[in-house]
């Protein structure tokens, strides 16, 4: 979906500027974009108490959607409170945000805090 080179580059650039931003994401309704291979674009699947992919790189302005495939409820909560937390997602429920300002954002499940993930937003 993305290369480690792109990720490293984006991390280098965005670390320097990320502190400038307070609110980086806006909430949006779920929009399903098909990447063509059946998998949804910018989708993070929650399964077996893991976020997959654990790190997702997106372009500013794109939507990111989490979907819970576990029988347990999970949440998506920004570690630095950089975007609004999700409600508890029951099985097959989704949560969508729109990536705004470039930066690196870590998040976790507040119910099962061992579950963590990262979103890297690069300039569109």
């Amino acid at each position: 979906m993305y290369t480690s080179i792109a990720r490293n580059k984006s991390v280098r650039i965005l670390f320097a500027i990320s502190f400038l931003f307070l609110t980086h994401f806006t909430l949006g309704q779920a929009e399903k974009e098909d990447a063509g291979d059946g998998a949804k674009k910018n989708q993070i699947v929650i399964k077996d108490f893991h976020f997959t992919p654990e790190t997702l790189t997106v372009k500013s302005g794109e939507k990111i959607t989490w979907i819970n495939r576990d029988e347990e409820p999970h949440t998506v909560v920004s570690v630095e409170k950089q975007f609004k937390r999700s409600t508890a997602l029951d099985t097959d429920q989704e949560f969508t945000i729109t990536a705004d300002a470039p930066g690196t954002y870590t998040y976790f499940c507040s119910v099962h805090p061992k579950m963590t993930g990262t979103i890297v937003v690069v300039k569109s």
């Binding site: 077996d48 108490f49 893991h50 576990d70 029988e71 347990e72 409820p73 949440t75 909560v77 570690v79 937390r85 409600t87 508890a88 029951d90 099985t91 870590t106 998040y107 976790f108 507040s110 119910v111 099962h112 805090p113 061992k114 963590t116």
Partner: protein, 320 residues
């Protein structure tokens, strides 16, 4: 009892032998007492065979846990029914327990209607006094406000809802370790609660029996699955000087026990669905077992205290 853990490779306080032994007890019913540092255990079947009557008890209470009202997946499509069976068992006891302790996860999704169903079904229980601590499923809004409004009416809850009370000379402490959890971490008590705990037990004599109850285990059962509490060691440090400390937890939906010095740790079965033994599945989610086996893996825990003796007896029984 330190020889109970013989191979602690993972430094998680449990070895294979101990784990298997504990699991062998699960669902079979076991009575154990600690007297003068000697652990004595008998299965309920042994007691019944020997015809030994249980001595008169000065205090008995019952632990129920992980009702998960609202859950309706494959592992148990009717958790309300199995919760009702658990209450029927309590009502059928020849000596009713003085009170119940619910160690969290009343609900599946913290929904008011799930709490309503629980409260309605609980009305059928003859034992009316219930003391609660929250599970993470009860506080999914992140604050636990709704939970506290409903379930802490009869106690003087401090902070996020922790409290203590005395019964028959036993000091009971209800702790909250499911709120303000940190990314990458385990269950957590937090500084404010720990300071309260230190002050709460400061003036108690060392011979006072202590019972601590909280949702997530206060010992490192299996940190890889989040089955532990990051600052529990500090809490237990305040309790080390006491001659008898019994720690009762839920969360992991199975019976596990550990004894360390004067402290005994015990986790209870759920009334809703079992979860896998540590590390035996890709995740700790609900475990689906054959329908005829389900009730043997659900249950409740009875605890009895004999006044004048530093011993508490813990008996697990399943819903078969």
């Amino acid at each position: 009892m330190s020889d109970y853990i013989s191979h602690d490779h993972e430094h998680d306080g449990i070895d294979r032998r101990g784990f298997l032994q504990c699991m062998a007890w699960a669902g079979t019913g076991l009575l154990w007492t600690i007297s003068g540092g000697v652990l004595v255990s008998k299965t309920l079947a042994q007691i019944a065979k020997a015809g030994e009557p249980l001595p008169a008890m000065d205090l008995s209470f019952l632990q129920i846990s992980d009702s998960h009202i609202g859950f309706s997946k494959e592992a148990n499509k009717d958790v309300t029914a199995t919760f009702r069976i658990a209450l029927d068992r309590i009502n059928a006891m020849p000596t009713p327990p003085s009170f119940l302790i619910h160690t969290g996860d009343i609900s599946q999704l913290s929904k008011p209607e799930e709490f309503d169903t629980f409260d309605e079904v609980l009305k059928s229980c003859r034992t009316k006094d219930v003391f609660y601590v929250p599970g993470e499923h009860d506080v999914l809004d992140g604050s636990g406000k709704l939970y506290r409004e409903r379930y802490l009416k009869s106690v003087e809850g401090k902070g996020l809802g922790w409290y203590s009370f005395n019964k028959n000379g036993v000091h009971f402490i209800g702790l909250v370790n499911v709120l303000n959890l940190q990314a990458g971490g385990l269950g957590q008590l937090g500084d404010e609660q720990l300071e309260w705990l230190e002050a709460d037990v400061k003036d108690l004599g060392s011979s006072t029996p202590i019972v601590v109850f909280a949702h997530i285990p206060l010992w490192a059962v299996y940190p890889q699955w989040g089955w532990g509490t990051s600052d529990s060691e500090r809490a237990l440090g305040y309790l080390k000087r006491f001659g008898s400390v019994t720690v009762l937890n839920g969360h992991i939906h199975q019976v596990l026990q550990k004894v360390e010095g004067n402290m005994t740790f015990h986790t209870a079965m759920s009334t809703a669905f079992p979860q896998p033994a540590p590390g035996t599945a890709p995740s700790p989610g609900p475990m689906t077992v054959p329908a005829e086996k389900l009730r043997s893996m659900l249950g409740l825990t009875s605890v009895k205290y004999l006044q004048g003796k530093s011993s508490l007896a813990v008996v697990d029984s399943n819903l078969n």
